[in-house]
């Protein structure tokens, strides 16, 4: 298990009458490994909503899918010692209503993705959207994830969709210096 000590912190301040979520980004990421299950993830804290008592975290994960490896990212909500996994952008847009917050959360997810790929260096990775993608706005974050895969030395293939859920396959083609 590895953890990186936080050094840089940023916060977006919002007026209390418009938003309750407070974004607090740190670069303290937690690397979670389960060798028995071949599941690996990198976790970050996103912030909290003092009104509801909810805390939010982001995760990028690699998990087995048959003989392949699947990548996914998600937001985790924790209230009163209970955690809930949010994989749908339709759910998270209700929580992160401020556009600056959504950009900040996406930036964290992209950083976690880069950390995860640099850490595990999987040879091939499949991924698909949790939601049916109906417009370019929904697709935008997945295009940015593809760019991170390319930055990390992967060739990314758009495999089309299954009933509206978009699918990609990434194959590692280069050593990163």
């Amino acid at each position: 298990m590895r953890a990186v000590a936080g050094v840089i912190f940023r916060r977006n301040f919002m007026s209390a009458d418009t938003m309750a979520f407070h974004f607090v980004q740190s670069d303290e990421y937690e690397y979670l490994e389960d060798d028995e299950e071949s599941e690996y993830s990198v976790l970050a804290y996103l912030g909290a909503d003092p009104d509801t008592g909810a805390s939010y975290y982001a995760s990028a994960m690699l998990s087995p899918h048959g003989a392949d490896v699947e990548y996914s990212f998600s937001v985790i909500e924790r209230i009163n010692d209970e955690e809930r996994l949010l994989t749908s952008g339709l759910e998270t847009q209700e929580i992160f209503q401020d556009q600056a917050d959504r950009r900040s959360v996406l930036r964290v997810i992209l950083e976690l993705t880069e950390c995860l790929l640099a850490w595990k260096e999987p040879a091939a990775v499949e991924r698909c959207t949790a939601d049916v993608v109906t417009n370019d706005e929904m697709l935008a974050k997945h295009i940015l994830v593809s760019q991170i895969f390319r930055k990390c030395g992967y060739n990314v293939t758009d495999c089309g969709d299954w009933n509206g859920q978009k699918i990609w396959r990434a194959e590692r083609i280069a050593e990163q210096g």
């Binding site: 298990m1 912190f9 389960d34 804290y45 909290a48 975290y57 994989t87 699918i167």
Partner: protein, 50 residues
């Protein structure tokens, strides 16, 4: 990727992620991390130099 492979990947995505999350929640490092940060709305203050 064949249509069958795409179906295998996409059709059970919610169940797979829920199963992975259930395992993650049992990880002591996860539990420690979420408790450590819970409720923070301010960046931690840096220690002043002596």
């Amino acid at each position: 990727m064949t249509a069958e492979q795409k179906k295998q990947l996409a059709s059970k995505v919610a169940e797979r992620r829920a199963a992975s999350f259930a395992k993650m929640k049992k990880n002591e490092a996860f539990r420690s991390f979420v408790r450590r940060h819970e409720g923070q709305t301010e960046p931690p203050r840096k220690l002043a130099r002596a």
